[in-house]
Symmetry: C2
Subunit: 166 residues, 2 copies
């Protein structure tokens, strides 16, 4: 499978990755959520090659995750801002961040904390069920075909042979 084919996969994760499934793209988005908006700022903070940055910003803009907004005319200059679609990636970024805080931080602890404005506490994200509100983990969920499933789609139900799940 080539990379350009990913967005035609019948899988929401694959389609998501066709937009953000790249080393640099998620770091660019991290900066966006920290209110970084301009080309040179991205470049300096990330140490990314300029043409790679230009490419990623272009793709994110085309995907509707960022939009270019002029902040001055003559010479025209534009900055990149998250759209609603882009802001909606926050839970995903936060989930990755929290995993890193938990499993990849040195003994000093996480380098950056997030405070919830509404309640005032330093907080991390908890993923809960949209229906019952209980926290979710992998073992609590089963998968089944949805309306967009291709014909003949099979959800693997059990390990190949040795029946019992650890």
């Amino acid at each position: 499978m080539r990379w350009e084919e990913l967005d035609r996969e019948h899988c929401s994760l694959a389609r998501t990755l066709s937009v953000v499934g790249d080393r640099w793209t998620l770091l660019v988005l991290r900066e966006c959520f920290l209110r970084i908006r301009r080309f040179e700022e991205f470049e300096q903070r990330l140490g990314i090659a300029r043409h790679v940055l230009a490419d990623r910003l272009k793709k994110l803009t085309e995907a509707g995750v960022l939009e270019k907004i002029p902040y001055q005319e003559r010479p025209r200059r534009e900055e990149y801002r998250l759209t609603e679609k882009g802001l909606a990636l926050y839970p995903a970024l936060l989930a990755l961040l929290d995993w890193g805080d938990k499993y990849m931080s040195g003994k000093e602890g996480p380098p950056l904390l997030r405070r919830h404005k509404a309640c005032g506490h330093v907080a991390h994200a908890v993923t809960v069920c949209s229906e019952c509100g209980e926290p979710l983990d992998a073992r609590a969920m089963t998968a089944e075909p949805g309306p967009g499933a291709p014909a003949g789609f099979v959800v693997p139900q059990r390990p190949s042979k040795s029946a019992v799940d650890k």
Copy 2:
């Protein structure tokens, strides 16, 4: 910045991406959560080049996300299973999946649904504050330095000049 330097970054997202920030890695993990465990199964389902698959499985194993478990001797064969550390990535995968369901599905709707065993409903993930339980979005959070912050670390507070946030 080269890729091997990423895990030394003072940023939990960067460190997370040093493990899973790769096109194929997250798709391999998707398969793991669908209970796919064997080399040939990954290869067939993903259409990934074999040496790339071998490399990703090796890296995920070294990172402690997967572990190799023998399922037969003579000839010895091993399969890859998620560890607790790997299972803990589920909320991140789910968040990316939900974003894809919402923004990248065709008009047919998402191809795969997830049902919460505990409550029986088809559900998606909601990200809530660990302290007050309210749903979180990007605008509800502020960042501040944590215990692992490098000296002189500055959290960008406001857009560079044109003060007002849209």
